[in-house]
């Protein structure tokens, strides 16, 4: 099978409320990615559109996006795996170009979450779980991750203070990312202060500061086969490894709650495909929709042994200057989590890092980067490994 590379990336500013419609929101990152790749609409052979459909009033958004982006009459279609839709889009683009069916494929992810209230959003997100057997109990995403946090704390002695350090780190980099939705400092002290709203309980043990914020946003990636990548791009970023897995939607079907099986499986596949190990990763983006999610990611990806994620963050090894910098763009916690746009945004961050174009967020000379993107509470797991060569 041939190689595939990412030759263009784009991301809109992630905001509380985007002053435009979904097609206009998606266009923001589309034009960035097209300019970045130096291509025009005629160079794009197909487009894959990613979002979580429960937020969209538009049925079948792919058609509308392709029309607005000037990508007719090329084929277009829609893909979703909840919060990991963007990574699934990249997986499809990779197979479309390496199979020889297309030369260049565009992946557009978007979400305009502000069209509905926070409670409505929680109810819709909760319905990303098992609607027949769990949702009737009144479930929502923070509660599912809170149950994982509770189990992790019980099994490994992880403390709230450890989780707070992850939020503090995210906020440190969110402040220097001009595309982040939350650009203020959040300290571990704030999460420990009962007078501070960041410490307010959402679903115990998770507090407001442990949870990512809803946002409106879009991201865009342009994927090309080897010939086109070399023709169009001076700095193609190669897709070295892809892993994907699924698990029971109902928590009753899971073996353990102190980690995510899909992340472990997907990372093993991706490492094998790339022919590398966890220790070879120079920079990573992980799916920190909640602080506990990043803690579990450290362990599921092999950056730390099970139960030792707290030592990794405690020693600041996942900070920009550490052994394995993680989410140095603010992560979902501070950069924001517009569902369908998230995976593409994570991939964009790692592409910019590998090109050496991440500005103030740049880590020192990375060769290989990893993206961990989870859909639902570990229903869908995707790991992508990217490299400079």
């Amino acid at each position: 099978m041939g190689k595939a590379a990412i030759i263009g990336v784009g991301q809109s500013v992630f905001s509380r409320q985007y002053p435009g419609s979904i097609r206009e929101l998606a266009f923001e990152s589309f034009k960035d990615a097209m300019r970045d790749a130096g291509v025009t609409a005629k160079d794009i052979d197909a487009s894959v559109v990613c979002s979580a459909p429960e937020y969209d009033k538009q049925r079948s958004p792919a058609g509308v996006m392709a029309e607005y982006m000037g990508l007719n009459p090329q084929p277009t279609f829609y893909v979703e795996t909840l919060c990991s839709s963007g990574s699934t889009g990249l997986r499809l683009a990779y197979s479309l170009v390496t199979s020889g069916l297309h030369d260049v494929v565009l992946v557009s992810g978007f979400q305009k979450m502000s069209e509905i209230s926070s409670a409505e959003s929680q109810e819709r997100m909760g319905r990303g779980a098992d609607i027949q057997w769990e949702s009737p109990f009144g479930t929502m995403m923070p509660a599912y991750y809170a149950m994982h946090a509770k189990a992790h704390m019980e099994k490994y002695g992880t403390r709230l203070e450890d989780l707070a350090l992850i939020r503090e780190k995210a906020a440190t980099y969110g402040q220097i990312n001009e595309k982040a939705v939350y650009r203020k400092a959040v300290t571990a002290d704030m999460l420990a202060d009962p007078e501070n709203m960041m410490s307010n309980p959402v679903a115990t043990p998770l507090r407001v500061g442990d949870c990512c914020a809803n946002a409106d946003g879009s991201s865009c990636l342009i994927v090309a086969n080897e010939d086109k990548a070399k023709a169009f791009s001076k700095k193609p970023i190669w897709i070295l490894g892809l892993g994907a897995a699924s698990a029971s939607v109902n928590l009753a079907g899971r073996d353990s709650f102190s980690g995510l099986d899909v992340a472990e499986r997907a990372s093993r596949q991706a490492y094998d495909m790339a022919g590398i190990e966890a220790k070879n990763i120079d920079v990573a983006e992980v799916h920190d929709c909640f602080t506990i999610a990043e803690m579990m990611a450290y362990e599921n990806l092999g950056f730390a042994k099970p139960g030792e994620g707290k030592e990794l963050i405690g020693a600041k090894e996942t900070h920009k200057e550490g052994r394995i910098p993680v989410n140095v763009d603010g992560g979902l916690l501070s950069k924001g989590h517009p569902i369908g746009a998230t995976g593409g945004s994570q991939i964009r961050t790692v592409v910019l890092q590998l090109r050496g174009e991440a500005g103030e967020m740049q880590v020192k000379d990375p060769e290989i980067g990893l993206v961990h993107n989870i859909g639902g509470v570990g229903i869908y797991g995707n790991v992508t490994i990217l490299g400079r060569r």
């Binding site: 109810e123 949702s135 009737p136 009144g138 149950m147 309980p201 928590l251 709650f257």
Partner: protein
């Protein structure tokens, strides 16, 4: 004028808000009315399921029997929700949890009657049927 066709939509009675009305396991609701929480077991290969299923994915059989969820389960994890999603505001705050029974697990709520400081991962609990407002039904976990 034909007679109006009867719809078996018993499943709409499950939980505070049900998002499902018709299922092949609608009898689950009748059992709840009788105070029983039931799983299903495949009559071909013997695999047991909770929540109950109409079809076995091991042997593709739809020849299933009911069994009752009885006795002690182990509390594997839980969370107290301080905010509720739309439709559940009147219930908050409430606890969701998973009980492990060995061959299967049960997702549900912990009884509000149980003092919070008595809840501990690893404790033995039992699942009991709980009647909600408006004739709705669910199950909650209680201390043994």
């Amino acid at each position: 004028m034909g007679k109006k066709k009867e719809t078996d939509d018993r499943f709409k009675k499950f939980g505070t808000v049900s998002f499902t009305s018709i299922s092949k396991v609608n009898d689950f609701i009748d059992y709840l009315e009788d105070g029983k929480i039931m799983g299903s077991a495949c009559l071909e290969c013997g695999r047991v399921f909770f929540p109950p299923r109409a079809d076995c994915h091991e042997c593709f059989s739809s020849n299933m029997d009911w069994f009752e969820v009885k006795g002690a389960g182990i509390l594997e994890t839980y969370s107290l929700l301080n905010f509720a999603p739309a439709g559940f505001k009147d219930d908050a705050p409430y606890l969701v949890a998973v009980l492990g029974y060995g061959k299967y697990k049960v997702f549900g709520r912990i009884s509000n009657r149980l003092p919070k400081d008595q809840i501990k991962i690893g404790m033995e609990m039992k699942a009991v049927v709980n009647k909600l407002a408006g004739g709705q039904l669910n199950y909650v976990f209680e201390k043994i």
